[in-house]
């Protein structure tokens, strides 16, 4: 994601406090970070908060950026933290550790075997389907949702996702599997009903 863009951005200039370079950085990353906020929080207002707080923090901490990860991973890390913090603020009862719904292996086993993968695009991508998918993503436990968003929505690699979230790659893979299986199950129920209706 934005690999070519980030290459054009000069880290030296950024650290030296070059405002024009910072503006270029903001433009390079504001869309992916906005999307991350939208997928994590579910509303444009919250997504905007995540976006603003992320870049305020990026600017504030640029001088301490050590280059142990790539600049892009570092920005995603800040954004992920902002999103998770905002979720915690909004729903303080939520427990962000691993012991939540969907944590048992049994929850993971598929129960729906309708093959809806060949449904036409206009059915799969109808606005009603999109709405259903959006709300299904919102029901994922946060610890899985953030992994899913970075990897499958924003297209980071497993390693980049692990770096951004301070998780092991194994942990990322496990959460990703659970998130994918959960969403697949939800979509299978949804599209399965539509296939039966048409028959």
């Amino acid at each position: 994601m934005n690999k070519t863009m980030s290459l054009e951005i000069s880290l030296e200039a950024l650290i030296a406090g070059d405002r024009a370079e910072f503006a270029r950085l903001v433009d390079a990353y504001s869309s992916p970070i906005y999307r991350l906020g939208l997928r994590m929080l579910g509303t444009p207002q919250d997504a905007e908060d995540v976006l603003q707080n992320t870049f305020l923090n990026v600017w504030m901490h640029l001088s301490t950026f050590e280059g142990r990860s790539s600049l892009s991973t570092w920005i995603y890390r800040i954004a992920a933290n902002e999103a998770l913090m905002l979720i915690r603020k909004k729903k303080p009862e939520i427990n962000l550790d691993d012991s939540q719904a969907g944590d048992n292996d049994e929850d993971l086993l598929p129960t729906q075997f309708v093959d809806w993968s060949a449904l036409p695009e206009n059915v799969l991508l109808s606005s009603e389907s999109q709405k259903y998918l959006d709300s299904a993503i919102q029901t994922l436990p946060e610890s899985m949702r953030i992994v899913f968003v970075l990897r499958d929505v924003e297209g980071l690699s497993i390693k980049e996702t692990a770096d951004a979230l301070n998780l092991t790659e194994t942990n990322v893979k496990t959460r990703l599997l659970r998130a994918r299986m959960f969403l697949r199950e939800q979509l299978s129920t949804y599209y399965g009903e539509r296939i039966t209706r048409e028959e």
Partner: protein
Amino acid sequence: MTDHAHTNCEELLFSLSAYIDGELNPELCQELEKHLVGCDNCRVVLNTTKRTIDLVHAPIEKLDVPEDVRERLFKRLNLDDYLNHQP
């Protein structure tokens, strides 16, 4: 479906995600592919999982930050001077 085949499905299920990511070792990969030929359910799970990822990825990919959101962001960051330099 025999009990044995069923156990196999469950085991292989845990490899499915890694398989999609191309992160599965060649041995397991071969085992999974062999199983997929004869197992309708696992094939459906694989196809629909891949499709699920496509569906999440496809539409939002095109979603750029709205112009008014960008404008407020630049103001918040005191970058007003650079607002007109379109990306």
